[in-house]
């Protein structure tokens, strides 16, 4: 027997399931810790996509419980449209099965590997089948089944199935048990927090053993589900073209117009001419050589960019700001949604946001949040095109320190939405470096950098003005008091200094011996009526002059006085109290007034 025959005995096809059993890292199951995050990520992605398609506001429940020493039970439940019983085994029990793979539109999951990979992982580590409960509407009863995957054939193996009494009207619940640890708890919560930022219409309830967390929605607007579009002539490959041609009965020019986006009669004829084919030939009969020529012509001809508005679903500047505001408390947030663009025939859109100050950590690198199609990217930050774009922006020109990444109390969010997000690997952790996308990211960041610079410089300017006001209105009078005491002369009046330096309406508030005094000195030429709002725990019933209006909320009193203070004169009110609180002056331009609390 020749060697080739020997070898032939060992040569056989490999099932996809078998392949992934040996290459778990390709799908994000390389370690038990990561397995939890990947599983939850896949289940949540599916749930959000399903809710979007059904046009309902997502309510997603996630639970992780330790069952025994190493086995964890993970439950993800959504209020989506549910899955018909006949499809359930395929969705969860067969790798590479899905509804979105062949569609050209923005969606979270794409290949249909994710959740069934988790089922496979459970089967391999704990041996416990995955339990799926699903209900498609109030009239249907819920359906429950236990599923595993036949590894040799990549076919679902239904362990048991039966109708089920379920209190949800519609939705799906998955229960997966596998070997894991909870050491990634922080990362998991981070993932959910980030998911909630870019899905401001969703609510997440989380139970981690005994702890409960809620990430609430900030928007009640159901996001419109992106509509699938036809492929663009520039974004197609040979295999796909061949398949499409074989399935069509049309003549070449009609085939081009009907099956591709942005191809009209004129462009179709142009393509035929360039390919050296007659427009009336049936596409079904085209040879491989002819198809190759056709593909070349399609790629060479100028075609308008594919339509992007329906197939992409950007979050929007307003919702990004609200989403960020909810989870991070910052002094400044700005967001940009760039106009859509195209790379190799695939529409895409870049959104970015920048946050500054507030509770962000002052030291160290900026916090970077990366998203692709509303899914947070949690790993391989260093390998991602978003990170390199952030590093390539010259932040120093926006007065922000930088060591590759910008430094300081800064948060940067970048969201890339596309019908086909180019990832560096199947675990979908990092976006590949595509010049068109990088250009859009950099433009968005530069735009935001300018906004931030303006904010910081305005804030600093205000700081200088406030600093001066503090010196003049609070400290100089104290110097005057001490110095007058030393030289044993009458207390020197410092209000002329105030007027000279400030040229503003100055409101001062101070507390001495249980008496609160508010004094307004008008060093401007302004003559109109001023309203003085004083909000504190003092009720000021004995105020003189009496407040024009008083209201109480949670023990805090808002006192309002109205007064006309002619230029170069002062107005005063005092009452018994402890002071503090907030003092606000209305009825005069912001740059003509200054409020100083002398007690601070």
């Amino acid at each position: 027997m020749v060697l080739a025959d020997e070898l032939a005995k060992q040569q056989r096809s490999i099932s996809v399931a078998e392949f992934f059993e040996k290459n778990k890292h390709l799908l994000g199951f390389d370690s038990p810790t990561r397995g939890v995050i990947t599983t939850i990520k896949e289940a949540v992605d599916n749930a959000l996509d399903a809710c979007e398609e059904a046009q309902v506001l997502p309510d997603i429940f996630i639970s992780i419980k330790k069952i025994s020493n190493e086995i964890f039970r993970i439950i993800v439940e959504d209020n989506g449209p549910g899955i018909v019983p006949a499809q359930v085994p395929f969705v969860f029990g067969k790798l590479l099965y899905g509804s979105r793979f062949h569609q050209i539109r923005q969606s979270r999951g794409q290949q249909g590997i994710g959740i069934s990979a988790a089922v496979l992982y459970a089967q391999l580590t704990s041996g416990i089948p995955t339990i799926v409960i699903s209900r498609t509407g109030p009239k249907e009863s819920a359906y429950k089944c236990e599923i595993q995957i036949k590894i040799e054939t990549n076919e679902p193996d239904i362990v048991s199935e039966q109708p089920f009494e379920w209190d949800r009207i519609h939705g799906t619940r998955v229960q997966i048990e596998f070997k894991s640890t909870m050491s990634a708890k922080k990362k998991l919560l981070e993932y959910l927090k980030y998911t909630s930022i870019v899905n401001p219409h969703a609510r997440f309830r989380v139970e981690l053993d005994d702890e409960a967390f809620t990430f609430d929605r900030v928007s009640h607007e159901i996001i419109t589900c992106p509509v699938a579009i036809q492929p663009h002539p520039h974004g197609i490959e040979f295999g796909q073209l061949k398949r499409m041609a074989e399935a069509s009965n049309a003549k070449l020019s009609d085939f081009l117009v009907e099956s591709f986006s942005r191809v009209g009669k004129k462009i179709a004829l142009d393509i035929c001419e360039r390919a050296g084919l007659t427009s009336t030939v049936k596409v079904k009969g085209l040879t491989a050589v002819q198809l190759k020529a056709l593909l070349g012509a399609m790629q060479a001809v100028t075609v308008p960019a594919p339509p992007t508005t329906q197939c992409l679903s950007p979050i929007g500047e307003e919702l990004i700001r609200r989403g960020l505001d909810k989870e991070f408390h910052m002094d400044f947030v700005a967001a940009r949604t760039r106009p859509s663009s195209v790379f190799s025939g695939h529409p895409f859109m870049v959104e970015a946001a920048i946050g500054y100050g507030g509770k962000l950590p002052v030291e160290g690198n900026a916090i970077v949040l990366r998203f692709a199609n509303r899914v947070p990217l949690m790993y391989q930050q260093g390998a991602c095109a978003i990170t390199s774009c952030i590093s390539n922006v010259n932040w120093k020109s926006y007065n922000i320190s930088q060591q590759a990444l910008p430094m300081g109390p800064i948060l940067i969010l970048v969201h890339v939405a596309s019908t086909n997000v180019p990832f560096t690997s199947e675990s979908k952790d990092a976006i590949a470096s595509i010049p068109e996308i990088e250009k859009e990211i950099v433009l968005a960041l530069q735009d935001l950098g300018r906004d931030l610079k303006l904010f910081v410089s305005r804030r600093d300017k205000n700081k200088v003005a406030e600093d001066r006001a503090r010196a003049v209105c609070a400290i100089i009078p104290e110097i005057a008091a001490k110095v007058s005491e030393i030289v044993e002369k009458p207390l020197v009046d410092t209000s002329p200094i105030e007027g000279k330096l400030m040229r503003k309406l100055i409101a001062k508030k101070w507390t001495r011996d249980g008496k609160v005094t508010i004094e307004l000195s008008n060093y401007t030429t302004h003559e109109g009526e001023i309203a003085i709002y004083d909000i504190s725990y003092d009720n000021a019933t004995d105020a003189f002059p009496k407040a024009d209006f008083v209201s109480e909320l949670d023990g805090q009193f808002t006192k309002v006085w109205k007064a006309i203070i002619p230029p170069q004169t002062a107005w005063q009110v005092s009452y018994t109290g402890k002071g503090g609180g907030l003092l606000e002056i209305r009825g005069i331009d912001d740059n003509k007034k200054m409020v100083v609390d002398l007690d601070v």
């Binding site: 003049v472 100089i476 001490k482 110095v483 030393i486 030289v487 002369k489 330096l501």
Partner: protein, 362 residues
């Protein structure tokens, strides 16, 4: 200047500062004060007094920002405090004043360094040393041993002390306020100021003071103000040569410089604190070479310090340039006690007699 005169002068100048602020504010102006810039780039050699003093560079502090205003406010509080102290004839340490400032609300000091710096500012503006404010430093002065007789006005009455016969083997401790000392008599030919206690003890043990009629002063590292004032007074009262004997490294040269020329921090007091006639005895970089002394390699910091000294106006003489450049070339430093490698008597029997003869002192 007598104690009373000093107090009168200090009260007058403090009131003068307060009055100028009062008048500024009365005229509707923001109070301000100008101070000489206190860096090495603003010290100049004064030909008449032969010491280094602050130059003409001044910086203006105006109470137009919260920081400067707070500085002036603190100064006002200190002036008020000192005035009270003078009126009640009490005194306190710098540290005590720092704690007293706890009650000054907005004017309280953040750290003791801040209050020390402010007192130096006040000394400069008022031209009164801090003893005139009845403020004295925490640390006590160093010790002195030798054939001299003084009278000290202590809180327990007048004491006459001979600094060899009436003291223990550690010597006489220099008090905080040297102004209270009367220099009665001496039998000395010169004064040696020593950086380390080890060398001070060595010279006493070997009887160097008796053999050569030398007054020995222990500097205790960077000398305190009272120690420098003591040297200044001995030198000016009895007109004795003052020789400074330190380790052979850049930091020790600065000890010599502060004795001879005054410190940058207290350049306003140079006339009282510096001893312009003081000479550097050693340990010279050339001694390391000539006596082949045990030595250490210069660190990066040492070389930096040596280079900084080359630009320091106080070291801009031919002698120092030669010695510093030699040291950089050798790349070595030695401690004064390294002479022990040649035997315990070597320094008193060989090195010092030879070096002093060289310098024309004996």
């Amino acid at each position: 200047m007598s104690k009373e005169e000093l107090e009168k002068k200090s009260m007058a100048s403090l009131i003068r500062i307060a009055t100028s602020w009062y008048d500024q504010m009365k005229a509707g102006e923001v109070p301000s004060i100008s101070l000489p810039t206190r860096t090495k780039y603003n010290i100049e050699f004064d030909d008449t007094s032969e010491v280094w003093k602050y130059g003409d560079r001044e910086s203006m502090r105006t109470a137009a920002s919260a920081k400067s205003a707070t500085h002036l406010l603190k100064m006002a509080y200190v002036i008020g405090f000192v005035k009270q102290q003078l009126l009640e004839n009490r005194s306190s340490t710098l540290r005590e004043m720092y704690y007293i400032s706890e009650g000054w609300k907005r004017a309280k000091f953040g750290a003791q360094e801040e209050s020390n710096f402010l007192i130096e500012d006040l000394e400069i503006i008022s031209e009164v040393p801090r003893e005139g404010f009845h403020l004295h430093p925490e640390e006590n002065g160093a010790s002195i041993y030798g054939p001299m007789k003084i009278r000290e006005e202590t809180r327990r009455g007048m004491r006459a002390i001979h600094c060899q016969d009436d003291v223990g083997q550690a010597g006489y401790t220099i008090p905080n306020n040297v102004e209270n000392i009367e220099f009665v008599d001496h039998d000395a030919k010169f004064v040696i100021a020593l950086e380390t206690g080890g060398m001070y003890d060595r010279l006493i043990e070997n009887g160097f003071d008796e053999e050569y009629n030398a007054i020995l002063v222990h500097l205790k590292g960077q000398p305190a103000r009272s120690t420098r004032r003591m040297l200044n007074k001995i030198s000016s009262t009895w007109n004795l040569p003052v020789l400074v004997f330190t380790d052979g490294d850049p930091w020790s040269y600065r000890i010599f410089a502060s004795v001879a020329y005054g410190a940058i921090k207290s350049a306003h007091m140079s006339e009282m604190l510096a001893t312009p006639k003081a000479q550097f005895l050693g340990l010279q970089p050339s001694d390391i070479r000539d006596y082949n002394l045990p030595s250490d390699k210069l660190t990066e910091k040492d070389v930096e310090a040596l280079n900084a000294e080359l630009t320091d106006p106080r070291f801009s003489t031919e002698y120092w340039k030669k010695q510093i450049n030699l040291q950089i070339e050798l790349g070595l430093k030695s401690e004064q006690q390294a002479f022990a490698a040649r035997g315990l008597d070597f320094v008193t029997k060989k090195y010092l007699p030879a070096r002093l003869t060289d310098m024309g002192v004996i």
